[in-house]
């Protein structure tokens, strides 16, 4: 509870800074409007106006909060304006991609650790894959898959997987190689087989590494999904909401969607964290 005060202090500072920035960025429009109408405005009028513009350069915090509230609670969840709907669409594709990416990362890591040939051949490609901007590759994946008749969740999930497999791969390679020479020697004195060494030593040793990379991976999967929703011309999903907001200059809508994405990311990372705590505790690895 003692940590609540510093947290609130920082939060207040951020909100105050944000209000300040909103005033600075939005006042020009107020002055322009006043000049066009041939009236002069007082400072307090400017202040009030910058807080309530319909399309501000930077929406004020309470405007975003209201946008979020309207989006989550003020609509029927089947409505096109419902952030619950859009979040769900994005969430489902993220989860599918995350599952796919995690599976791919683990399978590749197992291969890399057990085969020198794979270590030499797969790892450079995995690294190269991450140097390509996702914005460049996402439209191509969407277009190619659409021409094959695959639309909707799967192309988005593939792009999410493309981003999220990498941290899992790197973490698992590190984790599966975590046992030191002594631990491997011990198994040799028992004449243990390779698969016994894997299931009894390498896999359990890699768990803390796996969870650390899953946290990065789940956030990456969300980014991948949102990016995939931009060029898809999708009408649903947080990415689509961002895009339509920017088409029509609806800054409040953009910021609300951004915050919805941030909240979703935070929740996802939190869930992975909780699973991590439970699993490591049951394994006796968390004190």
């Amino acid at each position: 509870m003692r940590s609540i005060l510093p947290i609130l202090t920082v939060l207040t500072a951020i909100v105050a800074l944000w209000y300040g920035a909103a005033v600075m960025l939005n006042k020009q429009w107020t002055y322009d409007q006043a000049a066009r109408a041939g009236v002069t405005v007082t400072f307090s009028q400017v202040l009030a106006d910058t807080m309530t513009q319909e399309r501000p350069v930077l929406p004020a915090p309470h405007q975003v909060a209201k946008g979020l509230w309207d989006g989550f609670a003020g609509q029927k969840i089947t409505s096109k304006k419902s952030l619950v709907l859009h979040s769900w669409i994005t969430f489902s594709a993220t989860m599918a991609g995350f599952a796919l990416g995690t599976l791919a990362g683990i399978v590749l890591a197992v291969g890399i650790v057990h085969s020198r040939a794979m270590d030499m051949s797969v790892m450079p490609w995995a690294i190269a894959s991450q140097t390509i901007p996702i914005l460049a590759i996402a439209p191509m994946v969407i277009v190619v898959l659409a021409s094959l008749g695959i639309k909707g969740l799967i192309p988005k999930a593939i792009i999410a997987a493309y981003l999220s497999f990498f941290p899992v791969l790197v973490g698992m390679v590190k984790g599966l190689r975590a046992p030191d020479g002594m631990q491997l020697d011990l198994l040799r004195t028992y004449n243990a087989s390779g698969s016994q060494a894997f299931w009894k030593l390498r896999l359990p040793s890699s768990m803390p590494y796996l969870f650390a990379s899953l946290k990065v991976g789940v956030a990456a999967a969300l980014v991948g999904t949102i990016v995939a929703e931009l060029p898809a011309g999708a009408s649903q999903g947080l990415g689509a909401r961002l895009l339509s907001g920017s088409y029509y200059g609806q800054t409040i809508q953009i910021w609300s969607a951004l915050f919805a994405a941030a909240i979703l990311a935070a929740v996802l990372v939190l869930i992975v964290g909780v699973i991590e705590r439970v699993v490591l505790k049951r394994m006796g690895m968390a004190k």
Binding site: M182, D185, L187, R188, T189, Y190, L201, M283, G284
Partner: protein, 263 residues
Amino acid sequence: MKDDVKAPVIFAKDLNLVFETNDGPVQALKDVNLSIERGDFVSFIGPSGCGKTTFLRCIAALEHPTSGTLKVNSIPPDEARKARSYGYVFQAAGLYPWRTIAGNVKLPLEIMGYSKAEQEERVRKVLSLVDLEGFAKKFPWQLSGGMQQRASIARALAFDADILLMDEPFGALDEIVRDRLNEELLKLWARTGKTIGFVTHSIPEAVYLSTKIVVMSPRPGRITDVIESTLPKERPLDIRDSEEFLKIAHRVREGLRAGHAYD
């Protein structure tokens, strides 16, 4: 062949081992000749780099000699390893943090395919052998360093290997704990009748524990003296103040000094 009581448990003749390193070849073992009889407690003592651990690892088939003959239970070490004829205790306990103490002791039994009931029975037996009955369900981090090392000894005893190889098992522990564990180890040895190979760099530890002390020296790693202990099998801790004990310790010290004479 195991029934041949007369044959030495460990037999080394003209054993050489050369490591190829970036700085050229290093002679880790040179012309090592040694035979260890059933039921012996043999200590290997010497400064670091003398090859004592390397020799123990050769017996365990974790290293492979470059030339010479080495037999464990009258068969090559690799076959002896596959026959699971020894238990090995490392300097660090190396318990799996995700397994309880009982789970750790069970590890070799699971790998070797013992039945569930047999596993439980053996875990109970060896944990009582090392005085850890009450700690079966604890995780390693809940135990002190000395207790962890005792658990790792239990793990090495859990299956029916008649050889116990120990590589500085108490090296990382403080002297008080080490004294107690030494005493317990002697009792354990008397009760189980195993053949023990024990690497140490402590002279009192070597003299207190062993029936045979192998003094080694470095560059190249070789045996400079083999001392048959004249101490009785029954050894209370205060035997270390006896004249007999000091005489043997003195001879070990002389052997160690002789090995260093030229550098």
